[in-house]
Symmetry: C2
Amino acid sequence: MSDDRRLAVLRAIVEDYVSTHEPVGSKALVERHRLGVSPATIRNDMAVLEDEGYITQPHTSAGRIPTDKGYRLFVDRLATVKPMSTAEKRAIQTFLDGAVDLDDVVDRTVRLLAQITRQAAVVQYPSLSRAAVRHVEVVPVGGRSALLVLITDTGRVEQRVVELRSAADPAALVTSLTALRTRLNAAVAGHRLQEARDALTEVVQQTPAGEMAVAAEVAAALGDCLTAGLAERVVIAGTSNLAKSGPDLAASLGSVLEALEEHVVLLRLVQEMAEDGGGDGLAVRIGSENLHVGLTETSVVTTGYGGEGRALARLGVLGPTRMDYPTTMAAVRAVSRYVSRILAT
Amino acid sequence: MSDDRRLAVLRAIVEDYVSTHEPVGSKALVERHRLGVSPATIRNDMAVLEDEGYITQPHTSAGRIPTDKGYRLFVDRLATVKPMSTAEKRAIQTFLDGAVDLDDVVDRTVRLLAQITRQAAVVQYPSLSRAAVRHVEVVPVGGRSALLVLITDTGRVEQRVVELRSAADPAALVTSLTALRTRLNAAVAGHRLQEARDALTEVVQQTPAGEMAVAAEVAAALGDCLTAGLAERVVIAGTSNLAKSGPDLAASLGSVLEALEEHVVLLRLVQEMAEDGGGDGLAVRIGSENLHVGLTETSVVTTGYGGEGRALARLGVLGPTRMDYPTTMAAVRAVSRYVSRILAT
DNA sequence: ACTTGGCACTCACCCGTGCTGAGTGCCAGC
DNA sequence: GCTGGCACTCAGCACGGGTGAGTGCCAAGT
């Protein structure tokens, strides 16, 4: 059963390469890890591992480095979890506890992730496709405008100023808006955003003829808000960490930054990871597993957060393929747990 | 009066270096620009320019490159404005016209700037220190909470959910909140944020004893909103352009990104530039003129926007010291004008 | 059947060498 | 004050040999 040892060798190669950033040879391996066999034996194992595509050599007379496939095996079967120290846990907690609202939570989370992993961090805003309307508010502002505020049960707030071109008398406007507000709330409060949007036309039709035009304008804006609310958003931080993480990434940094700035790309990636993780747990994308061209030299680690049973959104980090997966995964998971706990209150 | 020619030489050096990214020598200069004199003459001029600190040579047997001081002179006295083509102007306009609210305007602006200058773009949110409160809204939400919304005359909206621990009877709460809302608006509407914050304590004291506790809670949250509203914000985009703009910047890209992520640093920079521009016009910071360590190899071009007479905030771009100043400056100014026009409506 | 020591081989990397060419500074003459 | 000429400097590049880490393979040992 030298199969066991071969896996041990792969693990050792990954660990050494991650810490030294240099190809690792057979001799160095037996020295640094107590493998109990000679370099020659290791060489045979490495030859097999290379045949199977787990490792490769950058040039003929150099050590081996893991391939994406090698990292994949490492992550799936070899990585031993590194629990965070209690000091770290406490640091996470106190850092996140100061947050005052949802925006602040997200902001702090993304910074925290970037800082403790020393990589780029990504946090997806709590998804609103599963969120419901908590409350709709319509407030007359100035003579001919109204402020529309939409609050969801995830704590997110969308607002918009509506210009009421068809408004007639300011005094009448106030009363008609108040009435409209109650009708709107009755119609949409408690419903999913999608459903709420569909219910809007009905509300308009039930409006007294004289106020119909105004109601239509407000409803249009609210529909707009609901749509905007459905749009997913991501926040990133720690891009400077990527520049510092070695010359290999620095070379392709342009494309990476480009991909990160294209939030659409990121969102699609994150959503895909929600699926291939099989749920809300940790999911890892390694190098070429990322279809997007700019990200083929990076790995992404994400997990769901917020919401028991089914996660509201995902968060994670992005770094060079040769990242320290165990610690990164532990950090991502730990942060996810604390954020979820905070959001639950 | 060889002084004139020396300046022409400096201009030529800057232009050549910006377009080629390579040190420029005397021979190449007379070939590419019709200077009407021999290389030897140019050499003498260059020697003088070097003595005066406008240019320098990276190593003994190489051409000259402009120093920060050289760029400064170029920007101040030699740059000829390059007006934008009408096609470009139209592109700017149509791109910005689609914006639906303030956030969207800022977002589109920063992307647009990054795209047309191929550098990193910075847009400061319309400053609220000069903004006034337009309206305050207090909305009961659920049993024991209220939504607080603050709208400023710059179109910015801050909101917060207040938990009312001291609330007693929900029915009574609604009426007391309505009363509170009118009193709050009377006290703060139309006033500057700073003044509004100071007026809050008075409002609380004038509240009937029974509702005092609730009023205090709401006022505290509003004070919080006002403070948050006073906090300046910046948005950036196009960082990937920096990575693509040559190996020199790429080397120090880490520190640059770090500086850009520290919005505090950026804000201070932007505010300083508002002063040293002597007002709201174009201001340029070149290389070492930026005190922040991470930005000593970059130049920043900003200008005020929004608000006639006195600008609401600033926008601009950041790139390598050897940027094309004339076109960059023209682009920044053009975008600023269109944004201002849009905000004025 | 697996492990091991031995051995020949490969090749990136380092370092010294010499060459080339762009570019300079200076000077004497116009 | 401009110009041509000339000697000089030096980064960059190509060439070449030496070194060493690392490999692949084989034959012998357990």
